[in-house]
Symmetry: C2
Subunit: 210 residues, 2 copies
DNA sequence: ATGCAAGTAGACTGCGCAGTCCATTCACTT
DNA sequence: AAGTGAATGGACTGCGCAGTCTACTTGCAT
């Protein structure tokens, strides 16, 4: 009967993507294609003109989320102190992972990883693994400069990432609390703990006195 | 027609529970009641004689998993050194959480928390929250004895728990690797890092020399 | 013996949902 | 003016699954 004026030439796909993004992060893979199409203001058939199946739509939405997560995680300016660089990174890392989008993405991926093995592997490689690798490189350089004790850089990077976002996840995941924390000093405290844990063994190189 | 000799008087329920436990931890809430009943060697109607709905069966199975997880996490003997107690705890904590059952339980709960809010809250309170509270009490006592620096005990407990099981979860969750690590020394290294991070500020109380 | 509690097989209902089909309508090109 | 490509709504198929119903069987207690 009445066909809307063909809504838009090509942003149709982007509307679908953002609707799928929102729906999958909020409801997980349960989100139905009918609801996603409706949310995008688009007919179901149009959805299937752009994506061959629900699984591919899901993968596309997760890729969007991945890019969004990794976007602002590059290393900060070189002119900063190690401590300041780690804090800067820590604040951004926590902001990304603890925000609703990060939580939703994590929840969806944890739930569906067994059913989408290659998507999960991609997610892992371009997310946590890459982040850890970059951080490990930064830490290794600091070790070579004598600012940190000699230690396996991978181990150290995993340790810091764990400290930054670990046990705190549980109340958010399991008792629907939004983060609700201004949180500006958590990264500070954590990074200071990390630096003490990896302080050089030889106390002759003292860090700058307060 | 032929009815099995009424299999067993009451272990019927326990067979259902363990089948549900296995199925839900392996497949999540997707696991169908038909398959669970079949796996238990029991008719579907029998399942519904014991559990009013799939949701309640799921809750019962998760409670079993919870009890199993918390069973062996009590504090170790008082005669141990702080470091030894933390390592002992760390080894058990890691063993529980990183084992397939722990991963399955975590995956199922993360995925279904939004659909079972009160079950998720119970899980949180009797799992992560209780663990953190006990550990915080232990750490607070150590702080009062001067073995650790004065610090918010909750923060310190969360920190140690995060360090023990944090970033390591990702490869297991997202790239179907079984833990595969003998792992006996990971807890040692982590606890040593933690103790350095929270070493007393006043260096007059030295820890026992090696 | 009789009756009750509990189990069994299997058919059946109803629902939600992925994916398809179709007749129609619009926008844009030539 | 005609044609092509894309979008539309809505009906339709098929599947898997939660939960119910029925008719039957068994063990135990009295």
């Amino acid at each position: 009967m009445a066909a809307h004026p063909a809504a838009a030439p090509d942003d149709c796909r982007s509307r679908l993507l953002s609707a799928a993004y929102a729906a999958f992060l909020a409801e997980g893979y349960r989100a139905s294609v009918d609801r996603i199409a409706a949310r995008a203001g688009v007919a179901k058939q149009t959805l299937y003109n752009h994506f061959p199946s629900k699984a591919e739509l899901f993968a596309a939405a997760i890729h969007v989320a991945m890019e969004e997560m990794m976007a602002s995680l590059g290393d900060a300016g070189r002119h900063l102190d190690l401590r300041e660089r780690l804090i800067d990174f820590g604040v951004r890392y926590r902001a990304k992972l603890l925000a609703p989008a990060g939580i939703g993405c994590y929840r969806a991926m944890v739930a569906e990883a067994p059913h989408f093995p290659e998507l999960a592997a991609t997610f892992y490689r371009s997310g946590p693994e890459q982040t850890a690798a970059r951080l490990a490189a930064t830490l290794e350089m600091a070790m070579q400069r004598g600012e940190l004790r000699r230690e396996d850089p991978e181990f150290a990077a995993n340790l810091l990432l764990s400290m930054l976002v670990g046990h705190e996840l549980y109340p958010i995941l399991f008792s629907g609390k939004p983060p609700a924390e201004p949180d500006s000093d958590a990264a500070d405290r954590i990074v200071d703990c990390f630096l003490r844990a990896l302080a050089p063994e030889n106390p002759s190189f003292k860090r700058k006195a307060p």
